[in-house]
């Protein structure tokens, strides 16, 4: 049965959910890898492996969603809660541009005290100051949150944010797109599977491209992992808006859910399966942030064609215990060591060129920055201009 499936996939056939499950459960790891690698080679015959230089900025850690797999958020009113000021964000952009970065990945908690005007003003201010910078911002649950707290439709939220400067949407918050799993992870309220898909559909129809992610290794069954991939594939058939798929394993440390992390072999098998199932998604990212540089590099043999982001800052995964760091020099070395050709890309996966550090001196980044220095509880000046909804938020404004 598996042998026949392997032949079919080799011949370019699309797999059904049942076939995908069979492959995932029964195909030897190297066989899965080879199938995925052959598809990677068909889609990217020039052996180019891309990466992007950007900064993952988490504008606030205050969140009412309270997903039980998250070690990053702080409840409304927490002394450790923060909202970044516009000036702080500008400083981070300056640092990003200094090492050749061209994109800001902006995501955060569901903070009830940030009205849509705050996002619009921020985006306009960023675009006014840095016209060439791409804003890759706000995952579907954040867009839903803005829609709900401002009683504005998703379509209108997307339209207003695009008008303010939004370029593309990160595929975060997908976790596993199955409601049984979402209820157990306490993330059904932030977005059901259908709602996540719907926001993406709106965004794609509005001309935005996005990534799609999967966080596996919590409570989902193998069937549900496959169902997640199928939902992404179906929407991609409809809209073609997904540029890339990114899978990462649940990082249990410091989370309410706790437990053990899925293993490295499981990661490589899941990645390879994603390459096989998602025949309509061009790019597959390696998650060295959760797997470390070594298994991150091995991803390139299991279907990945992109090393993701040369990150300068990371808060979410770090809060849950993983703290790997790779700068451009290391990412490029690991791509070349695996026999591939490294190229810088933008969010649309267009090639921008060769490594920046080969063209000019850039500072090495040997440690990832954090959103805020430890103990910094300052409240940005401009926050005063935006009305708060929560009691704690109102008190904070009064205290300013």
């Amino acid at each position: 049965m598996v042998d026949e499936l392997v032949r079919n996939v080799t011949d370019g056939a699309r797999v059904t959910a049942a076939e995908a499950l069979d492959l995932y459960r029964h195909a030897p790891t190297h066989v899965l890898g080879r199938l995925a690698d052959a598809i990677r080679a068909r889609k990217h015959p020039d052996r180019v492996v891309t990466y992007i230089i950007d900064r993952n900025v988490n504008y606030t850690n205050v969140c009412v969603a309270r997903c039980n797999f998250c070690a990053f958020y702080r409840p409304v009113g927490s002394a450790e809660g923060y909202v970044l000021g516009f000036e702080e964000i500008f400083r981070k952009i300056d640092e990003t541009m200094a090492v050749g970065g061209n994109q800001l990945l902006l995501q955060g908690g569901h903070n009830p005290d940030l009205p849509i005007a705050w996002y619009e003003d921020l985006f306009r201010a960023v675009k006014g100051r840095y016209p060439g910078l791409r804003l890759h911002a706000l995952s579907p649950p954040e867009i839903l949150h803005i829609s709900r707290t401002n009683t504005v439709s998703v379509r209108e939220v997307v339209a207003r944010l695009v008008a303010a400067g939004l370029d593309s949407i990160p595929g975060g918050g997908a976790e596993i797109l199955v409601d049984r799993v979402r209820k157990l992870l306490n993330c059904y309220g932030k977005a059901s599977a259908d709602e996540w898909i719907d926001v993406m559909r709106h965004a794609h129809r509005a001309g935005l491209r996005s990534t799609a992610t999967m966080m596996y290794g919590t409570v989902e069954t193998d069937e549900e992992r496959v169902e997640h991939m199928m939902r992404v594939r179906d929407l991609q058939d409809d809209t073609g808006g997904f540029t890339a798929f990114i899978a990462w394993s649940f990082q249990p440390e410091h989370t309410e859910r706790g437990g053990a992390e899925a293993t490295g072999v499981d990661y490589l098998r899941t990645l390879a399966l994603a390459r096989i199932v998602l025949d309509n998604v061009d790019n597959l990212q390696a998650s060295w942030v959760t797997q470390g540089g070594k298994v991150g590099q091995l991803s390139l043999a299991f279907g990945a064609n992109d090393m993701g982001s040369v990150m300068l800052e990371e808060n979410v995964v770090r809060a849950a215990g993983a703290s790997y760091c790779m700068d451009e020099v290391e990412i490029v070395a690991s791509i070349e060591d695996a026999g591939f050709v490294p190229k810088r890309r933008n969010m649309q996966y267009e090639i921008l060129g060769d490594p920046v550090f080969r063209a000019r001196d850039v500072p090495r980044v040997l440690e990832l920055a954090t959103a805020r220095a430890a103990g910094d509880t300052s409240v940005p000046e401009e926050l005063r201009q935006y009305p708060a909804r929560s009691r704690a938020g109102k008190q904070l404004r009064l205290a300013q």
């Binding site: 072999v265 797997q291 043999a301």
Partner: protein, 300 residues
């Protein structure tokens, strides 16, 4: 190595007990197609060991520390770490370790320590080895096949001194040089016998040029394929970490060395290392078997 006819020929050879030529090994070592190399190594490891993966819980203890405190009851091997300055200190460390170890084997020291002790005590190497052995030492922790000059003489001396079930290590050779080292290890085994295991991943990690994932899994696979006459290919669980060590099992390794013997993590939290280890072995499709320090399986 992407031509499937070549791959099929090699796979056939490996599965039917044939030995790959040095040329084939060199070509495999040069290809970026690590999946093919991994499949060959995996086929060979399955022919030799089926799905079994062994592991050993080791209590590592500095030669100048208290063995009584450092050796938990669950340890199956006591490994002395550090380099004592004199033979008297080294012998005393082995004796104290042995007193705590009971019938569990005591290992320790690197070949360069033995040479150093020989020159500081003005005794021939063979005599140093005999004294350490008489004190209770059953294995040398590091015999780096890439860093000893006359490896045939070294293995011969160790064998003559009564050391068997030797573990060959690699100190820091880059990937390309490790292939030659593994072919030499196979030749040493053919000539002297007594080599039980090879640990192909470096014991010293080069911070300036750290090995990559490709480097590591290829080194493991090449060790398996180049030295099919050495039964065990092992990876150090603590040094290389669960992710890489687990993937290495699918690239030809069959043994996880240096598993912590205590359930207590250094930061005080309980992490149940054994549970994590067994979960990783099983999630890679293998069956776990605990062994003692002399490579005897204790329990499955």
């Amino acid at each position: 190595m992407t031509r499937s006819s070549t791959f099929d020929r090699l796979l056939d050879q490996v599965q039917t007990g044939g030995r790959l030529s040095a040329d084939d090994i060199a070509q495999l070592a040069a290809t970026p197609d690590i999946l093919s190399v991994g499949m060959l190594a995996d086929a060979l490891r399955r022919r030799l060991h089926g799905t079994s993966v062994t592991y050993v819980r080791v209590a590592a203890c500095g030669f100048d520390a208290s063995f009584a405190r450092a050796v938990p009851p669950l340890a199956r091997e006591i490994r002395i770490t550090g380099s004592p300055a004199s033979l008297t200190t080294a012998r005393a460390a082995v004796e104290s370790a042995k007193a705590v170890a009971g019938d569990r084997p005591v290992s320790g020291f690197a070949w360069r320590d033995v040479e150093r002790l020989s020159s500081s005590s003005r005794m021939p190497v063979a005599r140093v080895l005999a004294e350490l052995r008489a004190a209770g030492l059953e294995g040398l922790a590091e015999i780096p096949v890439d860093a000893i000059e006359d490896e045939a003489a070294v293995i011969d001396t160790l064998r003559q001194a009564g050391f068997d079930r030797l573990r060959l290590t690699v100190s820091k050779a880059p990937g390309a040089e490790r292939t030659g080292a593994m072919l030499r290890a196979a030749a040493l085994q053919a000539r002297f016998g007594g080599i039980q295991a090879v640990a192909p991943l470096p014991t010293a990690i080069d911070a300036l040029r750290p090995a990559t994932g490709y480097d590591d899994v290829k080194a493991v696979a090449i060790a398996r394929l180049a030295a099919p006459n050495i039964p065990v290919v092992q990876v150090d669980w603590q040094r290389y970490g669960p992710k890489l060590a687990q993937v290495a099992l699918t690239f030809g390794a069959d043994d996880l060395d240096n598993v912590a013997a205590s359930d207590e993590a250094p930061d005080g939290r309980r992490r149940a290392p054994l549970e994590e280890l067994r979960r990783n072995i099983e999630a890679a499709g293998f069956t776990a078997a605990e062994r003692d320090g002399l490579f005897n399986v204790i329990s499955r």
